[in-house]
């Protein structure tokens, strides 16, 4: 066990933890916007897979990383539009429509991968960019300031999301619509329009989360490569109490546990790797059971809105 606790290994775990937090942050912050407005989108994992494929396929063919990011955002937004039509306009039960979206995204991304690429290929994705001066700080510099640009972006999204949610009119509308849609409606806020906006925004971010894996972290596309990460992202929104900084804490906790589990395998420690892989999932359940008991969820979450007659 001792070799796990050398400084080098601990820095390695922390560095991977920050790196692996990228998809969690994009997906969970996006999902937060939807949930704060009252829409539970359980299809995040399927959207991530579509985004991962769109980003990968674009980079595979053009070599242009930012075009890949744009493709992932676009495909994510389209999936969000589909979710919004079903859950907002058609007022479908959100727990089930999300599963439909998940199956559609998973099946469709596998289908497209097999028909358009067919074999395991890799691309050269975003590389780590050391930030001058900051990356020279001992320990902290190594952990935080030698990452790829999507990781920096994901961490920047935390204060940005907080600002949008708490300091802008749009954020006020989101919170009003999620807390008391009738009151928001009576003040002239279009409940459904806000919900369309948040669902599409959140899904675009889920698409980006997928791309951050396929053209940032792993630089390959595989069928079902997210492995349920999108569901953990949904759980993180609950765990983080529907607040950006809570989500940041949760994302770092989970990514660090994942990194820890990877390093257990790398170092060949005598813990069965299959058991270690369970850790993040067990932790999710425990976290949902014990954490943030006092925080109330948005009052209108999962409740479709229909104007009274």
């Amino acid at each position: 066990m001792n070799e796990l606790f050398t400084l080098g290994v601990l820095i390695g775990i922390a560095h991977s933890g920050v790196r692996l937090a990228t998809p969690y942050l994009f997906a969970a912050l996006g999902e937060m916007f939807g949930q704060r407005s009252g829409v539970l989108n359980l299809g995040v994992d399927g959207i991530m897979l579509m985004g991962a494929f769109a980003g990968f396929y674009t980079v595979f063919n053009t070599g242009n990383l930012w075009l890949g990011v744009a493709a992932a955002l676009g495909v994510g937004a389209l999936m969000g539009l589909l979710m919004a039509v079903v859950s907002v306009t058609m007022q479908a039960e959100q727990g089930i429509s999300g599963i439909g979206l998940y199956l559609f995204g998973m099946g469709m991304s596998s289908l497209l991968f097999k028909m358009l690429i067919g074999s395991v290929e890799s691309v050269s994705g975003f590389r780590a960019v050391a930030i001058p001066v900051l990356s020279r700080i001992p320990v902290i510099g190594e952990v935080f300031f030698d990452q790829n640009i999507l990781t920096y972006l994901a961490f920047l999204m935390v204060p940005l999301s907080w600002f949008v949610l708490n300091k802008t009119t749009f954020g006020l509308k989101i919170r009003a619509v999620g807390q008391n849609p009738e009151a928001a409606d009576s003040l002239g806020v279009s409940v459904n329009r806000v919900r369309y906006a948040t669902t599409i925004l959140g899904s675009a971010m889920a698409g980006l989360a997928g791309a951050s894996m396929s053209i940032g972290l792993l630089n390959v596309f595989q069928e079902n490569m997210t492995n349920g990460l999108g569901f953990i992202a949904v759980a993180l929104v609950y765990f983080g109490g529907w607040r950006p900084y809570g989500i940041l804490g949760g994302a770092l906790l989970f990514s660090t546990v994942s990194a820890f589990q990877l390093w257990i395998q790398v170092l060949g420690l005598p813990i069965a790797s299959d058991i270690a892989v369970m850790l993040p999932y067990v932790l999710t359940i425990v976290a949902l059971a014990v954490a943030v008991r006092q925080i109330q969820q948005p009052a209108a979450l999962t409740k479709p809105y229909e104007r009274g007659e």
Partner: protein
């Protein structure tokens, strides 16, 4: 208008309503197939050829039909569990994990007691699998009922945990000694003792008598849900937990119960796959039945008897997709995408049922028993949880 005319008018309207209810899932499937056809066209595949290959593969000959019936068996069992859970207001996404632990438990149980006679070993093996699934589902039920943990999220996590548990067991403690001896280490268990194999119905096919028992169980679940107090209470909790609590029903107990029963059926499906089809525990045994079972249950309008034709249809789709992949080089992943679309269309079409039943209530407030209800009651499930 005389009373009789009013009544017959009302009856006619209700009949039309019921016809629409039956037609809606079919329309949803047609819409999904159309959308799928459009996507296939974009990918340069002739959708008519692909669907024809699928249909022929599933229903075109005896071999296809026996394979369809073989795949129908676990689908139906899972779908029955889903009917109970969803009717009880619990969204059980954990079918995959419950199938896996059921299959693992059944395999381990029969391998541990190879000298037991068939009349004792087969029923107890199936029971072991069903109980393991019940425990796996029950965990999510207790977490929801006692700690208010969203059951959708907990069952997804339990799926991942069950999968890792299987990977661990099939590579370690349960790995087939023959695989170790041969040095191939293919992750699978030893072959189960022969007396625990479910009887095959036709020579040289995988079709086993489990299908008959599954259909009998569908009738039993129907009776349970609509002819017993327990079933009435499960549905009452699902339809309106606050009203059920007010009526004195122990809501938490029934939440846990419906999840436990749901897991029981999925666990049984796993045990039946092990003892009826594979005769050992293998990787990939759950085969997506946990999700396909949800789709079948929704297509069958969350009715245990409706689940019978629904799971036959989806069993056929799974078989046909394999055939299509081989003959047309269209990946069978298409079927997962189609299932997703079917779910989206089915839950979207539910709005029409809700609108109509609301209109009926306002029109016929004197008529206490308005009969059919929307498929999924929007108040059910996750109000006020974390």
């Amino acid at each position: 208008m005389s009373m009789n005319a009013v009544r017959s008018n009302r009856q006619r309207r209700r009949l039309i309503g019921q016809l629409i209810d039956i037609a809606l899932p079919l329309l949803a499937v047609a819409a999904a197939l159309l959308t799928g056809a459009f996507l296939l066209l974009l990918l340069g595949v002739n959708p008519l050829d692909a669907y024809a290959a699928m249909f022929r593969g599933a229903f075109g000959n005896t071999s296809g039909i026996t394979q369809t019936l073989t795949k129908m068996t676990p689908l139906l069992l899972v779908a029955l569990g889903i009917c109970i859970a969803f009717r009880g207001g619990m969204i059980n996404i954990g079918g995959e994990g419950q199938i896996i632990v059921g299959a693992l438990a059944a395999a381990a149980f029969s391998l541990a007691l190879p000298e037991w006679p068939r009349w004792l070993l087969l029923p107890s093996t199936l029971t072991a699998g069903a109980l393991a699934g019940a425990v796996w589902g029950g965990i999510a039920g207790v977490l929801k009922a006692r700690l208010n943990v969203n059951e959708i999220l907990s069952t997804v996590m339990l799926n991942a945990i069950a999968l890792q548990l299987m990977n661990f067991l099939l590579r370690g403690p349960m790995l087939d000694p023959e695989q170790i001896a041969a040095g191939t280490n293919i992750p699978q268990s030893a072959a189960l003792p022969q007396q625990v194999w479910i009887t095959r119905l036709m020579p040289r096919t995988l079709l086993h008598s489990g299908i008959i028992y599954a259909i009998i169980l569908a009738i039993i679940v129907y009776l349970l849900l609509w002819r017993t107090t327990i079933g009435y209470r499960i549905r009452a909790v699902g339809a309106n937990p606050a009203a059920a609590r007010y009526a004195g029903i122990p809501v938490r107990t029934y939440m846990t119960l419906s999840m436990t029963l749901s897991g029981l059926f999925a666990g049984l499906a796993g045990a039946v796959e092990v003892t009826g089809v594979h005769h050992r525990m293998i990787e990939g045994l759950s085969g997506g039945y946990g999700f396909s079972g949800i789709v079948a249950a929704l297509f069958g309008k969350l009715h245990p008897l409706g689940a019978i034709p629904a799971s036959f249809f989806f069993g056929g789709m799974l078989v046909g997709a394999d055939k299509m992949q081989r003959s047309m080089q269209v990946p069978s992943a298409l079927i997962v995408a189609l299932q997703g679309l079917i779910v989206l269309f089915v839950v979207s079409s539910d709005i029409f049922v809700r609108r109509r039943s609301r209109r009926r209530v306002s029109l016929e407030q004197d008529d206490a028993n308005t009969g059919d209800q929307p498929l999924i009651v929007p108040t059910a499930g996750h109000g006020g949880e974390r």
